[in-house]
Each structure stands twice: as structure tokens, then as C-alpha cells.
Amino acid sequence: MAINRRNFLKVAGAAGGILLAGGARSTWSAQTPQAPEGSVEFYGLLIDTTKCIGCRACEEACNAQNSLPKPEVSFSSEGVFEKKRETTPDAYIVVNRFPNEKDPEKPVFARRQCMHCTEPSCASACLCKAMEKMPEGPTVYHKDRCMGCRYCMISCPFDIPKFEYNSASPFVKKCIGCPDRVAKGEQTACAEACPEGATLFGKRRDLIEEAKKRIYQSPDRYYPHIYGEREVGGTGYMYLSAVPFEKIGFRTDLGTKHYPELTSGFLSAVPLVDILWPAVLFGFNYLISDKGEEGGKENHHEE
């Protein structure tokens, strides 16, 4: 699916390239990211923050799944909630606690990890395909390819890839979406570990239906928005919340455009410039050159 879309992008880019950088606004951004019949469907997660109790079982399962170093503070400690955490090279999931304006007694817990975008910015930014979108949904990292330029970190709208700054042979680290498990049809380690069903694994299309159903059925419980349904063109991991998403640490100003689209106009102009520019320059050169003309010592064009 990802590959089909990307190939389509190339073709659309080449065709749209005639419009050059500014004008190449492809029409496909209007499509919702859903699979056509017969192709592999994206899997994803629906994270219902209204169900999350902040037990951090997902963090622990992730730590084991990816053989990450044991943290200094145990997974049962609540001390970590004192301040907002970001993912680190050693923690691909972090659960944060936010005050709940609806019900001060019941704080909101929201986990943070790679969103597994439908069209990931990191994968399109990577010049050696170290970041790659699998047809099943996970955005994986090929560490043998990575050169450590950290452009994925610049490009990720969610600031998820993390870099091992204190290593002489560093890697970029982030949630890779349990590709081995997903390929076998199993759910991700974090979804499996969740005791409350706050993290639900499934086909992205089904998850959106489920999310909509929950919002329709309990309008008081949910803020009427599925975060990730359309953000940055859609993400594989999506969220439900009781409160507006900016209140629980989400950026709501990212737009609904696929991130690769930001550069596709420019990139589609590249082959044109590479072909047309030399032709024009040769033309100029030929035009001005007096080779073969009589005399050949005439005044040249000066400004």
C-alpha cells in the first residue's frame, strides 16, 4: 500500500512537475488513507486515553520486547509522572499524566510513542532508507543502513526518533511497531500487555470505525475527535480523549497534509532542472560563442 502510494506519488510528481515547485499540489491529498480491495491493510493501534490507568504495563512490555536496558526507576513507580516525559533512546513508550479539567479526581494518562504515520516524514526524509514503512503498517528502522544524519529527527512532526549522542557508534531509536509480531498477525507487545484494553490493536479502518462508534455512543465521555485519523495525512496509531488534545500534550497545529507532500513539489522539479538547465546553458553558450564566426575577436557581450 505504502509502495503503491509512493509510486503513484512519483508519477503524479513527474506529471505535476510541469507546474513546477509551487504549483505541484497533487490531488490525492483529498483521499482518505484507506486500502483498496485486495491489498495489505495497515494495522494500527487505537489508544483510548479515557481507559488508561497509567499502570505503565505497555512501557514494561515494550522494554522487554525490544530488549532495552532496564530503567533506573521501576515500572511500578508513580514518581515518573511528576513531570512530562519524552521518549528516549532506551524508552520507546512513555506514559504521561495530565490534569483532567472535567474530573480533577481522575487525571488523564496518555502514552507517547511513534505514531506510525500512513506516509511517514522520517521515511521520506531518510536518504538511505534506514527508516521504512512496512506494508503492514509499522515504520521500521534498518540500523545497518543508517548514517546518523538525524534528518529524520528534524522531519518528524512528533519528535519521536531519538539519537544515541553518547555513543561512538550511535543509532536512531524509536518504537518500530513490533514488525515481527504484526507480520505474523499478532498484536503489538504494548497492546497485548494493556490490562484495561486502552490500547487496541487492529486494522486501521476497523479502528476508525470503533473510535467513531465510541464517540457516538458516549458523547459525554469523549472529546469528538480521533487524533491521527487525519493529522499529517493519517497515522497508524490513533487516540481518543476526554479533553481537547492540546490539553494532553498533543500538537493540534500539524495540519492534515501528508508530510512527504511538503517536498514532493520541489523534488518533482529536480529532474526538470537537471535536464532543462544544461540545455538552456548550452544554448546560451552556443549563442554567445563566436567560435566559427569570422574574426572571432569581436567585443563580447558585457552586461
Binding site: S124, C128, S155, V273, W277, F284, I288, H301
Partner: protein
């Protein structure tokens, strides 16, 4: 060595170096590698210390990782090694493509005397900045991955930048090589290279266009992180245009220094035409800056960002755009009307500073301007940057003192003459050494 035979200063070289054979070549190289003139000049001592310190810091970086010497963080993955060394440095190397375009494509002969120095500058800039880039890469040994093709990330702007960077550096090498061939007295090689000039220049201009624009294009993927006053879908075009006046201003600045320091290496025609050249460069710079500012205004009004101008970041934006782009433009125009070379030179500094501000703003200062803890470079990052610049200056100095950079005419016709003279000189020297 009788200089009426050869118009090029190839002084200092031993008579008739036999560079055709490997042994002779190595002997010649060994002779040339030895330092010349006073060693313990203040410049050499200061830059020497900086380079030594830089090498130590680079060692620490390689052993302990980037975190040991840089202030880079998970929030700020790119610091001044990218923002200044690469993104800013490459803009200033733009003089090479714009000047080769003027001289070899448009055949504006006026600028011939400064082509070689500018191209050399561009070439060294590229070599040293790509060196600096390797320091910043976490896994530099994988830098060949997008080149040898085990993982082509076609969809990446960085892929485009990397390829154009590499190919353009090769082009610059070809453009510099006539001077190298003359230095080595490789007449045949010189002739072959000369035939490649036009094609190389055309390729070089093309690659530069996309490479300069591509560096800006890198930041297109960070719309939510770059301050809206600086983020624009026009960044590639803006980078390309500003690389022209960055190039112009650096040529003017660089010529100020070379004229002072290497005055003995200058030939008469270079000296005579210098004022005219500088005023011409000022004209070029002013027109490009006008176009750039026009685009900037369009961006500002189309994005409905006028209200942002009164915020602190907005004032900072005005410092860059009004203070160091618009003002230099006005100064250039005044300088051109008054025919004041002095004012052109002063303005070039303003212009260059404006370009530095612009590149630093986009890559570092206006990048995640909202974060509570901001990135600022560590002293070690600054030191290594200075060391890279110092090394470049050393090589520049070494080349200028040995190769015909400031005193040659890379024009087809005079080149032919030079070659003939070179042949003549060879004969004379051969005779001298034979007798």
C-alpha cells in the same frame, strides 16, 4: 627564471621539475609541501593552535560520541556543525558557480582574473564542509550508502543534496585542475581538461542550482518547527537566490584579503581591473538582492504574517531582512552610483553577515523557537568550526603561493597562449638545466 617568457608567476619552483615520472612527481611534491617564508607569523601561530585543539576535540568526538563535545540534544538534532559549517558555508561557496557562469557561459571577460581564486575557494569550501559534515554524522562510515546504492532514498531531499554535493565537488575539482596542471607542468593533461571546461561549468551550474535550493528544501519538512516568518514553501528558491549574493559578497571580501596578503602573486591585469570587477559584482549582488527581497515580501504578505513582525522573533526577523539585506542593497546602490569601491567592500561584509543570519535562523535560531531549553553551541563546537576554517585557510594559502591562481587567465585564447609560453618556458628551462 626570466619572467618575460612566462606571464604566469610560477616562481619559486625549481627549474624544470620532471613531474612526468612518479619519482620526479613525488620529489616535486615533497619540495612543494615544505613551508615557505616565515613560519611563525601571528596568523600561523593562532590558526595552528586552533587546528591542534580542533584535532584533539575531533578525537574526543570520535571516541566518545557527539554528546561529548556538542550541545546537541533530542530536541535540537542539528547544531552549528550543520547550520553554520554546511548550510551557511555552502551558500558562500556559491561564488564559484555564479562566476563560472558569467565567464564561461555568458563570456563576460571582465571577471576572468578572479575566476580561479573563486573556484579554488569554492572547491576548498566544499571539501572542508563535507569534512565537517562527516564529523556531524553519527555513523560516518555509512556515508557511502546512498551513493553505492544499497539503499537509495530517492524520495529524500537529502538524497538529492548528497548526490549534487558530491558531483559538484568533482566539477569544482575539474574547474580547479587547470591550475594544478600548470603547476605540475602537465601540458597534455592541461589541454584535455581545457576541452572539458564548458561542459563542466554547465554541469556545475546545474548541480549548484539544485544543491543550493536543496539545502533550503531540507527544511520544508519542518513546517511545525520553524518559525512561520522563516518557513515558506519558497525556501528552496530563497536559498538559491541568496546563495548568489552570498557568493558575490564572499568574492569581494576574499579579494580584499588576497590583495593585501598575496599582492606579490597578482599579475598586472588582475590589479588593473580590480575596481571595475568589484563594482560589477556589486551590481550583480544588488539586483539579486532586490529579487530576493521581493520574494520575501510576497511570502510575508501571502502568509498573512505581518502581525508576527511585532513579536520578539518578528523584530529579530527585521534585523535580518531589513538590517542586513535591505540596508546592504541600498548601500550597494549608493556605492555603485558613487563608484566607491571602499563602500562596496564594507557593504559586502554587511551582506555576508545577513546571509549568515538567515541560514542560522532557519537551521538553528528560529528552529523550535518555542522550546523552553534552547540550543546554543558549546565552546567545543565553535572551536572545531574555527579549526575547520583554519585548515581551509592553510590549504588556500598553500595553493595560492604555489599554483597560478591569482595570475592566470582561464580563457580559451589566452590559455592557449599561456600554454605556448609554458612550453616555451619548459624549453628555456630545459636549456638552462642542460647547460
Amino acid at each position: 627564471m626570466k619572467s618575460n617568457v612566462t606571464p604566469m608567476p610560477i616562481s619559486g619552483t625549481p627549474a624544470a621539475p620532471d613531474t612526468g615520472t612518479l619519482k620526479g612527481f613525488l620529489r616535486f611534491l615533497w619540495q612543494e609541501l615544505k613551508p615557505r617564508g616565515k613560519l611563525l607569523t601571528p596568523f600561523n601561530v593562532i590558526t595552528g593552535i586552533i587546528i591542534l585543539g580542533g584535532i584533539i576535540l575531533i578525537g574526543i568526538r570520535l571516541v566518545k560520541g557527539l554528546g561529548a563535545v556538542t550541545n546537541l540534544s533530542q530536541e535540537y538534532p542539528w547544531g552549528i556543525w550543520i547550520g553554520f559549517d554546511v548550510v551557511t558555508g555552502v551558500a558562500f561557496a556559491g561564488g564559484a558557480y555564479i562566476l563560472t557562469f558569467a565567464v564561461h557561459i555568458l563570456k563576460i571577460k571582465k571577471y576572468e582574473p578572479i575566476v580561479r581564486a573563486t573556484v579554488l575557494n569554492g572547491f576548498l569550501a566544499y571539501v572542508f564542509y563535507s569534512g565537517a559534515l562527516l564529523l556531524d554524522l553519527g555513523r560516518p562510515w555509512n556515508v557511502v550508502n546512498p551513493i553505492i546504492g544499497n539503499a537509495f532514498g530517492y524520495g529524500s531531499v537529502l538524497f538529492l543534496v548528497a548526490w549534487h554535493f558530491l558531483l559538484y565537488t568533482l566539477c569544482l575539482f575539474v574547474e580547479v585542475s587547470p591550475a594544478i596542471a600548470e603547476w605540475l607542468k602537465w601540458v597534455k593533461a592541461r589541454r584535455i581538461i581545457q576541452k572539458m571546461t564548458t561542459a563542466t561549468v554547465i554541469l556545475g551550474v546545474t548541480l549548484s542550482t539544485l544543491h543550493q535550493a536543496g539545502l533550503g528544501g531540507l527544511f520544508l519538512t519542518a513546517p511545525s518547527k520553524i518559525h512561520p516568518l522563516w518557513y515558506s514553501s519558497n525556501i528552496p528558491v530563497l536559498f538559491f537566490i541568496s546563495s548568489m549574493f552570498a557568493g558575490f559578497s564572499l568574492i569581494i571580501i576574499e579579494s580584499m584579503f588576497t590583495h593585501k596578503i598575496f599582492s606579490d602573486r597578482l599579475d598586472a591585469s588582475h590589479r588593473a581591473s580590480h575596481d571595475k570587477i568589484l563594482l560589477g559584482l556589486a551590481k550583480g549582488s544588488a539586483s539579486v538582492m532586490a529579487a530576493y527581497l521581493f520574494l520575501k515580501v510576497i511570502d510575508l504578505t501571502h502568509g498573512h504574517q505581518l502581525g508576527l513582525l511585532l513579536t520578539p522573533m518578528g523584530l529579530w526577523y527585521l534585523v535580518e531582512v531589513a538590517g542586513f539585506t535591505l540596508l546592504p542593497l541600498v548601500l550597494y546602490v549608493v556605492a555603485i552610483r558613487r563608484q566607491s569601491v571602499r563602500l562596496v567592500q564594507i557593504t559586502a561584509f554587511f551582506t555576508a553577515f545577513g546571509v549568515v543570519l538567515n541560514r542560522m535562523n532557519i537551521s538553528v535560531i528560529a528552529f523550535k523557537w518555542y522550546e523552553a531549553v534552547r540550543y546554543y553551541p558549546s565552546w567545543m563546537e565553535i572551536w572545531v568550526t574555527l579549526a575547520v576554517i583554519s585548515m581551509e585557510l592553510w590549504v588556500f594559502q598553500w595553493v595560492i603561493n604555489r599554483m597560478p591562481i591569482l595570475g592566470a587567465h582561464p580563457d580559451f585564447k589566452t590559455e592557449e597562449e599561456t600554454l605556448n609560453n609554458l612550453d616555451g618556458a619548459e624549453v628555456v628551462r630545459w636549456k638552462v638545466s642542460a647547460s
